[in-house]
């Protein structure tokens, strides 16, 4: 049976991808951010996942307002990236795992999560940037099964629902018959707001609370509403819900392997959290 090795929460800001493309990771602006990642890569090298489930939000590459699924699961043999309009190099393609995807889909629907299934799905920076951070050029990433969560158009799925989805993802992994190790990644955040007169909003205290609570008592965060999250973390800080899906997939007690926090990366507070499922 498949085992869940652990989970990672990470920022996915496009500017990180641009910095990697320009090779400026050691410049003073970027060094404190990138310094967080060797520890995450060392953990991945130790646990050696055979498969990644990556939970992210599409920012208008694959989905438009004509059809906006709340939760969408990739069921493709591979995932392509494409031009998002502002100059990031196109990366990939990324290997998928259609067999696991369909197992996940069957299991989620049986669990009453009536998700959208995608045999073609372009993945944007929220997928590619974390992959570049965790499997830099020269390393071989395991196959990835993406889950996209709507954070574009309200109503967004509630934090409690995202956590429950994570629980269902965890059950799906545990019931997969092959003996493989799986890491679940949630991308986005932490606090930031791009739009409105409140643009540039960052909430360090709340972010640090989130990093602690995600490990020890995620229920604290699942009691928040989406509007609470907008108020506390900014309009795009709601991306914490992807981290809650990740956390939900893990067991109740986890061990924090690594936690990193840096302000600012672009308009955001950047976070990284590595949780090992063997508490």
């Amino acid at each position: 049976m498949a085992r869940i090795l652990g989970g990672i929460g990470t920022s996915h800001v496009p500017a990180i991808g641009a910095a990697i493309a320009r090779g400026v990771q050691n410049e003073p602006y970027w060094q404190p951010f990138f310094a967080g990642y060797p520890a995450a890569r060392a953990w991945l090298e130790r646990v050696r996942p055979d498969l990644v489930v990556l939970v992210y939000n599409d920012h208008g590459l694959n989905f438009f307002l004509d059809k906006m699924p709340t939760f969408a699961v990739g069921a493709a043999p591979e995932y392509r990236n494409a031009d998002e309009g502002w100059g990031l190099p196109t990366l990939g393609p990324y290997r998928g795992h259609a067999g696991f995807s369909w197992h996940l889909i069957e299991s989620l629907v049986e669990d009453e999560f009536d998700i959208t299934t995608c045999q073609e799905m372009l993945v944007d920076h929220a997928f590619t940037v974390p992959m570049s951070l965790l499997w830099p050029e020269g390393s071989v990433a395991p196959p990835v099964v993406p889950i996209a969560v709507n954070t574009v158009q309200h109503p967004l799925p509630k934090p409690s629902r995202c956590f429950a989805l994570g629980r269902a993802v965890g059950r799906a992994i545990a019931s997969y018959p092959d003996d493989i190790g799986v890491v679940v990644i949630g991308t986005g955040g932490l606090s930031h707001q791009l739009d409105g007169e409140r643009a540039g909003y960052i909430n360090r205290e709340f972010d640090l609370l989130c990093l602690r609570a995600l490990a020890a008592e995620p229920e604290v965060l699942t009691r928040l509403t989406i509007l609470d999250l907008v108020r506390l973390a900014g309009t795009q800080g709601v991306e914490l819900i992807m981290w809650l899906v990740m956390r939900g997939a893990l067991q109740e007690k986890v061990r924090t392997v690594h936690s990193h926090y840096h302000i600012p990366v672009s308009n955001t507070a950047a976070g990284l959290l590595v949780l090992d499922n063997a508490a």
Partner: protein, 124 residues
């Protein structure tokens, strides 16, 4: 009845636009145009003839005026969603700090300083 709670408009958060069903309907044409800018040839077509491109997507007068004046707050008020607007901003060579500075009425340097200050400052 539980429907009242579902229909209730959210409490406003100052300086914050909740992109809900009402905004998604209002902003559809503008956002659809911005979504088209994922493709380089569409970005070029916009630059070649902005008026014709906006007409092709059926922008409302309010949306056309907001785009003409390059005013992000006006675009948001006209139903624009920031994720799609960011693709339009890319055509103008703006990144999200430039957009932040414009919306907050700050210079780019002031806005960058505001972000950096969040390292030590309490959220406000």
């Amino acid at each position: 009845m539980s429907t009242a709670r579902v229909r209730r408009r959210p409490d406003p958060i100052p300086g914050t636009y909740i992109f809900d069903g009402e905004m998604a309907q209002k902003g559809y044409a503008l956002n659809k145009m911005c979504y088209s800018f994922n493709e380089a040839r569409n970005r070029q077509a916009f630059l070649a003839d902005e008026d014709a491109y906006c007409r092709r997507y059926g922008l409302t007068n309010e949306q056309r005026e907001a785009v003409r004046s390059r005013d992000v707050l006006e675009m948001l008020a006209a139903g624009g969603n920031i994720y799609y607007l960011a693709k339009l901003a890319g055509i103008f060579g703006w990144n999200v700090q430039d957009i932040g500075a414009q919306q907050t009425g700050m210079s780019r340097e002031e806005f960058d300083a505001k972000l950096a200050a969040a390292r030590v400052r309490r959220a406000s």
